[in-house]
């Protein structure tokens, strides 16, 4: 669990990941989710839980892209994870305003409308 948790602050992430990364990684990672991490890597582990093959498929979908390094695919996967965390948290603010404990689609729509960084999503989720 610890290795999987990611905050926006690297220090928090390192601290969280420091606790039993191997066991946590084994528990948290489902089939095919590890981004090539060895089984017994000590220290701060930032495994990408999103499978690299799927991310790679998205990268390849761009006709202008010829090749991407393994590192690039990995960083994109990690960035996508950070993005998911970020947008979930931002949307949750609206659920809280509505005194709900369930995040709903409209919370997401509100966040996308309100937050500049999410402008690229407008019109893409329907």
């Amino acid at each position: 669990m610890a290795a999987a948790a990611a905050g926006a602050v690297p220090a928090a992430a390192v601290a969280a990941a420091g606790a039993e990364p191997a066991a946590a990684a084994a528990a948290a990672a489902g089939p095919g989710e590890e981004a090539g991490a060895g089984p017994l890597c000590p220290g701060p582990l930032r495994l990408a839980r999103l499978p690299l093959a799927r991310v790679k498929a998205l990268v390849k979908a761009d006709p202008d892209v010829s090749l991407a390094s393994q590192e690039a695919v990995y960083i994109l996967a990690r960035a996508a994870e950070l993005f998911v965390e970020t947008i979930a948290k931002d949307a949750y603010v609206y659920a809280q305003q509505g005194k709900r404990k369930t995040l709903q689609r409209k919370d997401l729509d509100n966040a996308i409308e309100a937050i500049d960084e999410f402008a690229f999503l407008e019109g893409t989720l329907d």
């Binding site: 499978p51 498929a57 761009d62 991407a68 690039a72 990995y74 950070l82 369930t102």
Partner: protein
């Protein structure tokens, strides 16, 4: 069927877990919200890729590298991702190096005879190609 790039989904189970871990305990996500976030993540990757590719082309390179992705994050106004991503990259690089060392050692032990032709190729420029090191994914796909 994936007709458009945005239809290339990331696995629901992983997306759900990332969301749950980002939110306080006891908070739920509706199926529609989860699905929309998943789709948003795909769009994010597509957008980031396109952005990163611009940087690669500016640098007259045909291969997207990690630096291009980091530049893309800044361009997309996700500067706050840059620091954690750099850290992840460091860890990733160390791991890759460690795995290479481990493989080299294994080779030395296993067969001193048929060495390294194939191994040495892997050692060069592993930053170049999109090579998967992990085994085939059989992640759950519940659409």
């Amino acid at each position: 069927m994936a007709e458009r790039p945005e239809d290339l989904n990331l696995p629901n189970a992983v997306i759900t877990r990332i969301i749950k871990e980002a939110l306080p305990d006891g908070v739920n996500i509706s199926k529609e919200a989860r699905s929309a976030i998943s789709r948003a993540a795909s769009v994010f990757v597509l957008y980031a890729t396109s952005c990163a590719n611009n940087f690669a082309m500016k640098g007259k390179r045909k291969t997207l590298n990690a630096g291009d992705v980091l530049s893309a994050m800044e361009e997309m106004e996700f500067q706050r991702f840059v620091a954690p991503l750099k850290e992840s990259l460091e860890v990733y690089r160390r791991e890759q190096k460690g795995k290479k060392e481990a493989r080299k050692d294994k080779d030395k032990k296993a067969d001193s005879e048929e060495q390294d032709k194939s191994r040495e190729e892997e050692n060069d420029d592993d930053d170049e190609r999109m090579e998967e090191e992990e085994p085939n994914e059989e992640e759950e796909v519940d659409n």
